[in-house]
């Protein structure tokens, strides 16, 4: 696989996003709420009710929202990138170029992965800075950065993002509408939302070791989903079976 070819495909996607900003807007909403809105809520809560003992558990659980963010952000991008090609019927001329299926798939994945991870990373930096600013008085120390946030943003986040991209490839082979693809693609959030709820209800503790176990499981699931996505993204399948 030639990465230069994948990069050509990804660059074109970036150009498309720059012209169709609505694709990115939906990605910004969630991240904006988590990165900026949530710290202000934490500030309000910590001033009113939260104690120094309860705050770290709350903050650890909130950190997990960046895994949810990482799986949500690529949904709109990947949906548009793949189903958009189907709607515009541009897959046939694209497949007619001397570019392999893997290179096209890699390009599309890069185009969905990089902005999502960049936005998530920026969101995490803003979130942790604001949280530190607002909670330092109560905690008497800076809660962030910590290893859990590093694992969440740099390991679990990218793995969740890859899962969302792979899952969207599978969905894109079955739907012909970008919105439907986005709606179905958003279902990938459910397991992560479930983990978040379990952590908030103290059923599951988001310790460093638990986060690493989750990362290992996610990496295995990613491998399976990407194997399926690669099998789905074959030109024979695309031109004859994709509906």
């Amino acid at each position: 696989m030639r990465l230069s070819k994948a990069w050509i495909v990804a660059s074109k996607e970036f150009k498309t996003f720059s012209k169709r900003k609505t694709i990115l807007y939906s990605a910004f909403y969630f991240e904006g709420i988590v990165a900026i809105g949530l710290p202000f809520l934490i500030r309000y809560v910590s001033q009113k009710t939260a104690t120094a003992a309860a705050l770290p558990i709350l903050l650890s659980a909130f950190s997990f929202l960046f895994v949810i963010g990482a799986s949500l952000l690529p949904v709109s991008i990947a949906s548009y990138s793949l189903v958009g090609e189907k709607v515009q019927k541009s897959l046939e001329p694209l497949l007619a170029t001397p570019t392999t299926d893997e290179e096209i798939l890699a390009g599309k994945s890069i185009a969905a992965f990089l902005p999502a991870i960049a936005i998530n990373l920026i969101g995490a930096v803003i979130f942790s800075s604001l949280v530190d600013l607002f909670t330092h008085k109560t905690l008497n120390y800076f809660f962030f950065p910590n290893w859990d946030l590093v694992i969440i943003v740099l390991l679990l986040g990218p793995l969740a993002c890859l899962l969302a991209v792979g899952y969207n490839v599978l969905i894109s082979s079955r739907v012909n509408d970008v919105r439907v693809a986005q709606q179905l693609g958003s279902l990938i959030l459910l397991p992560f939302v479930g983990i978040y709820v379990l952590s908030e209800t103290r059923v599951l503790e988001l310790t460093t070791s638990n986060l690493l176990i989750m990362a290992a499981i996610l990496a295995a699931v990613d491998a399976v989903v990407f194997f399926l996505a690669k099998a789905t993204f074959q030109r024979d399948e695309i031109l004859t079976k994709w509906k």
């Binding site: 070819k5 150009k15 498309t16 012209k19 046939e92 007619a96 024979d236 031109l239």
Partner: protein, 308 residues
């Protein structure tokens, strides 16, 4: 060397045979048209030749490269410029950006790419509109950009799938003129079409496909083969004496349509004067003597009808 060599090429989708053991060749610089009804396998044939879908069996070569061989697929795709039946341009991007993207995918160096984009957009009279998004373009303009996209890497073989379908007559004419210009430049062209007048005007040879390849020939030769040589003699009034006189000359076949006597002849140039002389001797007044020219449309319909 032939640009395209196809031997018993077959494509099956499950139990359904879409293309059944077709064989033909296309010489370098030739314009070959593939005619056939909807679902005849024309697009499937193109997709196999362009290495877009796999073949079930048979052999096909493009400029000596083997279709279906993983190693040759990329080389084949560089040789081909495809204009699919769906235009498939990126609506948000400008004409220039669309062509630039494909130029990069076809591995054109930047300077050549820029030169080619300017050349083809100028040729298509779209250079002034190069920065406008494709969504602002009419269907005819989009088709021109799609043709420019297929030419951007200077392919040896151009493949058109229904290039004038759904275009208004004026746009269709422009597209046909562009194809004629490419033909005059010596490009090898493979054309799928429903449009018989287009095929007759553009193609050196045509093949009629209905899952199987029914016939391949030049349009003129195909007419002769299908219909034979027929002479129409129009007289003022057909009488029994005239018919008897004509029968005496032993034509291969004879029929009468109002005041026209239609004759099937082996050598019309030699036999026509004898028939005219016989009719005049029998008291007939000959108004016209013409050669029956049913045209490609009638020929095509007859070939297709014979398969039913």
């Amino acid at each position: 060397m032939n640009m395209i060599e196809v031997q018993n090429l077959t494509k099956k989708f499950g139990e359904t045979t879409a293309v059944d053991a077709i064989s033909f060749s296309v010489a370098e610089g030739e314009v070959f048209g593939l005619l056939g009804p909807n679902g005849a396998g024309k697009t499937t044939t193109i997709r196999m030749l362009c290495c877009l879908i796999s073949k079930t069996s048979g052999e096909a070569q493009i400029a000596g490269y083997q279709v279906g061989s993983g190693a040759d697929s990329l080389a084949i795709r560089i040789l081909i410029g495809l204009v699919p039946d769906n235009i498939g341009l990126y609506e948000e991007l400008s004409a220039y950006e669309n062509l630039d993207y494909y130029g990069k995918l076809y591995e054109c160096p930047e300077d050549i790419r820029k030169e080619s984009i300017e050349h083809y957009l100028t040729m298509m009279e779209l250079w002034e509109k190069r920065d406008q998004p494709i969504s602002d373009f009419s269907k005819g303009m989009k088709q021109k950009v799609a043709i420019a996209r297929a030419l951007i890497h200077d392919p040896k073989l151009l493949v058109f799938d229904e290039p004038t379908a759904n275009l208004d007559p004026e746009s269709a004419r422009v597209v046909k003129d562009i194809i004629m210009q490419l033909k005059s430049e010596g490009k090898t062209i493979f054309l799928n079409t429903h449009n018989l007048s287009e095929a007759q005007r553009i193609c050196d040879r045509i093949g009629i496909l209905k899952t199987k390849l029914l016939t391949v020939n030049t349009p003129e030769q195909m007419e002769k083969t299908v219909w034979g040589s027929k002479t129409v003699i129009q007289v003022e009034q057909v009488t029994d004496q005239i018919l008897a006189a004509v029968s005496e000359q032993s034509p291969r076949d004879m029929s009468v349509d109002e005041n026209k006597i239609i004759l099937s002849l082996t050598d019309p140039q030699k036999e026509n004067p004898d028939f005219v002389q016989a009719i005049v001797a029998a008291g007939g007044r000959v108004q016209y003597v013409t050669q029956l020219n049913p045209g490609l449309e009638e020929t095509y319909l007859k070939v297709i009808e014979e398969t039913k």
